[in-house]
Subunit: 415 residues, 2 copies
């Protein structure tokens, strides 16, 4: 669309409502310093600056009584499914709460809690449903025990990547379909973050073909574990605190987690030799913002708007943060000597076949799943027909034709 | 990150500020219907529902005087660089203005104008700079005549894709660097939309190798035209209204535009035989929201927050809308018999070499460009080292291993 728009249109001036140059009727002088506070948020490390900006702005608010707001004061609690140590995931909930506070001039305050501070990380749906907390930031696939349809709200094996998930949620009918399911749990929800495609995980031994998956003791729960069990893997359920020692002792052969930035903190490079990609069970894992439906319906319209728009912001922001933080983390991991390898194609082909068998079987017995799956699968096919052209060919070209001096592969096989 | 978080943390209950179950102190009953209005926005066709929801909510506001706001009333004008016919691009500005209105309870109203309604589509920077309009929604690369550094705010040939652009802007220092440049034009700005990788354009004849680019009369302006001129293309500047007849008469051999959804409207399939991809000069073209710096600094803090967060929303939303609308448009285009083809690799290799020669030459004589380019290029290299692993391998697998019955290629060569 290079430089086209100038001549696309008539340039005639039309009649304009309102003053010719617009006009700010606010007590502009009093609010002036806020510009600098917000400008500071542009600094590298967007969220950190964002939080610093919040402190700076609080001072401004005191100095600007002319823009003080009347209206209700609402205080809520939000629990994340994630610990503070996963600062990208938990940090999104913090950023969300700060934004709501600043958008509403402090009239709507939501306090973020980490997993375990009010309820367990996987109890967020229950806690929102029963009114223990007004909001939760979580991943819907943690609750597939309640309804397996909920997996589509986060990620299913060989499902949508982050862009495709957004397209499905916002414009493909996905959000409406998922809200139908969550309404049964008294929950209103919004897409609120994405990890991008995750890594496949840490392996003590090499995977050369699908045969090497036979009998592999792989810590991987949920639908992904069920899929892999169909190609011979023995899925293990182990608390994260015990993964390291289980790998060290050889009680398990492999574990999945998230991506380089989060994984690095757990030190698995010390007790495994291989770091495989991609995490084909999470091509783009979406996080979701849950709001208790009754609380939602009582909320003033402007506060509803604030939740909606601030969720969209952390949806785009979290992916950007992961994309910025993963490359240096991957480079550090490679320096430990761990071999970064792609899964063999036959492993992925066998797993994909198993995944869609599971979906077909579930659709045959779960009407909710069947309804969503039909929409989702048609949308996925259409997405592929498009992403196969411009985006994929561009990405493949630039990634396989680096400028001189740059390696084409993330990690040549080292022995 | 399948099902991990439950055991990652202590589950002890800690002391909580505020009431045990939170509490809404608003006149909840009066605001109740707003829940349904906002829920309607979840319907397929997110923006359409969004605009309908705005009308529904206006009624609610009248019925809920308890949440009426005091504070300033500000009316601004925003001009888009795009005509109403490009409904995804112009529609983003409309969505932005609606969101601001609803976020602020009508206290901050921005009226969107299409290209040409106040000034020409390519005069948005000037108009914001000189105060004719308070805001503009545009693409910074339209203004490279003022400073070629501005191209990095939108897209440069063989640059970042949409995700990488967001990572650079929000977390890689890009936004801060670009704001330094735009501040010289009295502009504060925010990322506000992305097209994804565009198509390469419509060609009357086949391109089998870089030799076929020799003497090609290709309507393509800007840096992209400069790059292609170095591999033998004769770049043409032609007003969009004249492209169709120029192609029909053979005055030009080819033209680029945007992607299937926008391109389809212009009917180029009737006068060309080939539709090439990718548009390697726009791997992810970012739109930007401009605000006059003086107006910005006078704005109450909450209204600044509203602009910031609503820009982030249309940033994620526009890409989702394009991704949802492009696949059916591409399918319709294919039905016309036009052949959808990838550019030959040697064309892209020669063009990439030319592009980076241009950047190196510009950096040698433009300190602003040199500063941004150094940051951008290091960030690009790091992004590639990461995207080459999980995301690309996932995308390549699912796109080249379709489930049975689905074609692997978007368009087999037809003769």
């Amino acid at each position: 669309m290079q430089g086209d728009s100038d001549n696309r249109n008539d340039r005639g001036t039309v009649s304009i409502d309102g003053p010719a140059h617009g006009g700010t009727t606010a007590a502009g002088g009093a609010a002036q310093p806020a510009g600098h506070a917000a400008t500071a948020a542009a600094l590298r490390g967007h969220r950190r600056a964002f939080l610093q900006g919040a402190a700076a702005s609080a001072t401004v608010a005191v100095a600007a009584p002319a823009i003080a707001q009347s209206g209700p004061s609402v205080r809520w609690r939000l629990q994340s499914s994630f610990p503070k140590s996963l600062d990208t995931l938990f940090g999104a909930a913090q950023m969300f709460c700060e934004r709501i506070d600043r958008l509403t001039g402090g009239r709507f305050q939501i306090r973020p809690f980490a997993a375990g501070e009010i309820v367990g990380g996987l109890q967020v749906l229950d806690a929102v449903q029963n009114g223990t907390i007004e909001m939760g930031h979580t991943a819907s696939y943690y609750y597939i025990g309640r309804n397996r349809s909920l997996a589509f709200d986060t990620a299913v094996p060989f499902g949508l990547n982050a862009r495709q998930q957004n397209a499905w949620m916002y414009y493909g009918g996905g959000l409406d379909l998922m809200r139908e399911v969550l309404r049964e749990f008294n929950v209103m929800h919004f897409p609120a973050g994405n990890t991008g495609t995750q890594m496949g995980g840490w392996f003590r031994r090499e995977i050369r073909s699908v045969k090497d998956m036979q009998g592999l003791r792989f810590r991987i729960p949920g639908l992904a574990g069920e899929m892999l069990s169909r190609i011979g893997v023995l899925p293990q359920v182990i608390a994260p605190a015990d993964i390291y020692s289980s790998l060290e002792r050889g009680t398990i052969d492999a574990t999945e987690f998230v991506g380089p930035y989060d994984d690095e903190k757990l030190g698995f490079a010390k007790v495994t030799k291989f770091y495989y990609y991609p995490g084909f069970w999470e091509g783009g894992a979406q996080l979701s913002m849950y709001v208790g439906l009754k609380e939602w319906e009582k909320l003033p319209r402007e506060f509803q708007q604030a939740i909606d728009v601030a969720s969209a912001e952390i949806n785009v922001n979290m992916l950007a943060e992961y994309d910025a933080k993963n490359p240096p983390a991957l480079a550090r991991i490679q320096k430990t000597g761990v071999q970064v390898r792609p899964f063999p194609p036959d492993v992925m082909a066998a797993a994909q076949k198993a995944a869609f068998q599971i979906y077909d079987e579930e659709a045959a017995k779960n009407p909710s799943f069947a309804k969503i799956y039909a929409n989702w699968r048609a949308f996925r096919d259409a997405q592929h027909s498009w992403h196969r052209t411009a985006d994929l060919s561009f990405d493949n070209f630039v990634l396989s034709n680096p400028l001189s001096g740059q390696p084409a592969a993330p990690s040549p096989a080292k022995k």
